[in-house]
Every structure is written in C-alpha cells, then in structure tokens.
C-alpha cells in the first residue's frame, strides 16, 4: 500500500475498508472507576502494551479498577491531557490516534512526563526550613 504521491491518488479512492485499530475504544466514553464495561480488558491490554500496566495477569478483566485508573492518569499526564482518571472525550481521541509501537514506559524507567513528576515528588529537589 504505497502511494508515490498524493496527487496520484484518484479523488474518492477508498482502499479496502477495514476499521482502524482501536476504533472500538470510542464506546468507552464516560466510563468511570468502580464500574464494569464489556471489552474494557482490550484497553487494559493497550495500556499494558505501552507500559502503563506493568504486571500482566493471565487475563485482564473488564473492571475499571485501581490499576486501570492509575494507568489512565499516567497516560493523561504523559500526553498533556487533563488528569481526570476518567475516559473523557479528549483522552479517547488521543487513545485512538495511530502511534509508534514502542512503549512509552520501558521497565518502569522511561516515563515521559510522568517520570519527571515522580522525580519531582520522590527526590529532595526542594528543601524546606522552618522559621
């Protein structure tokens, strides 16, 4: 599927109609913690693939659990989204975008924004003195 030049593509040309990967995630709009949503395990697998859920159980459940919420917040932080912990429209729009297959978080150490946040919170960058 190589197109040597955009101008060479005839108007109205439609390649083999295949639903883009991750399009099904759009149905999760409005999902909130503590609830169960059919197919949410696919989104957990997505987060696991890109390093946001480090431990892989044999089967992900469809529960919007704490691990998923934590992964979602880290993702929102990394992509400069509002950190709501909810599957809001802005987050879903980003999740379904095509992307590089390399993980954002590798072995918990390569972490984009969230790593800076963790460093900020876990090291003694600031010292306080009581007066």
């Amino acid at each position: 599927r190589f197109f040597p030049n955009v101008s060479s593509i005839p108007p109205g040309f439609v390649p083999n109609a295949t639903a883009p990967a991750w399009d099904s995630f759009k149905k999760f709009a409005g999902c909130r913690a503590g609830e169960n949503f059919d197919g949410l395990s696919k989104l957990k697998q997505y987060f696991h693939y890109f390093g946001y859920i480090p431990n892989s159980p044999s089967n992900f459940t469809d529960d919007f659990d704490d691990a998923f919420e934590s992964a979602l917040k880290t993702y929102q932080q990394n992509f400069n989204l509002n950190v709501t912990g909810e599957l809001d429209q802005q987050t879903l729009n980003k999740l379904v975008q095509p992307r590089c297959g390399n993980a954002d978080i590798v072995n918990g150490t390569t972490t984009m924004n969230s790593g800076k946040w963790m460093a900020f919170n876990s090291t003694s960058l600031f010292h306080t003195v009581g007066h």
Binding site: F3, P4, V6, I9, P20, A21, Q97, P98, C100, N102
Partner: protein, 194 residues
C-alpha cells in the same frame, strides 16, 4: 526527551552507520529516498552519517515493511493503530506496518484516503529510537508517540535536538538553528504549515 533504560547508544567507533532495506519489499528508489531524507535530518545535528548499502545482513540498520506477526514478538495490527516500531541501539531493526496506506511525497493532508500516513514522518521518529531516544511528552517533538493520519511532521524540535546531542554531541557544522531549511528545500511546491 527520554532515553531507553541504561541510555544505550551507538559506540564511539560507530559514527558512520550503514542501512539497508529488506529485499523482499522491493522498494522503489523513490520510496528509499524518503528514508535518506529522514536520516539526513538527524545527521544534520549530530556527528553521524548514514549510508545505504545493498547488503541487508551486514548493515548496521535494517529496514523492513511487515504485516501482522513478523517474528519479533511485536505483531502489527492492520490499518492505523501501531504504525511502526524500532529497537534501541545497537540492534538497528526498524519495522513498519505493511498494511498502512503509506504516502511517499506530496501534501498528505489533502489525501483522499482518510487513513493515509506520511512515511517520512514515521521514518524520522523511528530513526530517533534507533539512535537511542525514547518517547517525549513535547507534542511538537518528533519523538512524541502519536501522529494523526494525514499529518506530516518531519522537522526536529529543540527537544529532539537536545536529546540526541546529549547522546552523540553536536555536529560541528550545525549552526544551532532550526532544521526547517531541509524541509523547505525538499518540499518545495507543497503548502505545509508548521
């Protein structure tokens, strides 16, 4: 910018790298030239060169288009989704999803194909991985993980340049200004907005 764990990078003895294309893909010269331009964007800012070779097995960097499960444990997923992946130094493996609708040249934003993906944009990003960069949260950066379809982003941002120069130092010929002159020269006639 970020690095892979342990900051892997090409050793000092490897500053002139070779790259080759998987013969089974039978890429045209025009398709190969997209990668030459992508490599140029990085070699402009760091003291490294990239030269194409016909010997796929001995090349430092091996580029191939593959579909679905292609044997490295990271299967591709068809149209859109994951577009490509690359391994950290000194692996040199760059894999792209054969099922994408890759556009080699022209203004991809005007493509009638909604799932069209600009090949050079993805190539520049993946080369960043081959050189040792991880993903960045800076949205303007090449190393930002996602790119919408029908979007062209090929110019290194300051975040990319800072990261790669931390690994390899600065190209003595690099004057510290934007690399946009490359893009303007190579896309003359196109109407890109940055």
């Amino acid at each position: 910018y970020t690095f892979f764990p342990g900051n892997p990078h090409w050793p000092d003895s490897k500053r002139d790298l070779t790259y080759s294309f998987f013969p089974g893909n039978e890429l045209t010269e025009e398709e190969k030239s997209v990668f030459a331009r992508a490599f140029d964007r990085w070699s402009t800012v760091i003291p490294m060169t990239f030269t194409q070779t016909d010997s796929f097995t001995t090349a430092d960097i091996r580029i191939g288009f593959f579909s679905g499960d292609h044997g490295d444990g990271e299967p591709f997923d068809g149209v859109l989704g994951t577009l490509a992946h690359a391994f950290s130094p000194p692996s040199g493996r760059l894999h792209l999803d054969l099922d994408e609708n890759w556009v080699d040249s022209g203004d991809v934003s005007t493509s009638p194909i909604l799932s069209a993906v600009d090949l050079e944009s993805v190539a520049v990003h993946e080369i960043g991985h081959l050189l040792g960069l991880g993903h960045s949260s800076v949205e303007e950066a090449i190393m930002y993980p996602s790119i919408p379809s029908r979007t062209r982003k090929v110019e290194l941002a300051q975040d990319d340049i800072d990261g790669i120069q931390q690994l390899y130092g600065k190209n003595p010929n690099y004057n510290g200004t934007s690399t946009s002159s490359i893009q303007e020269r190579e896309t003359s006639g196109a109407d890109y907005v940055h």
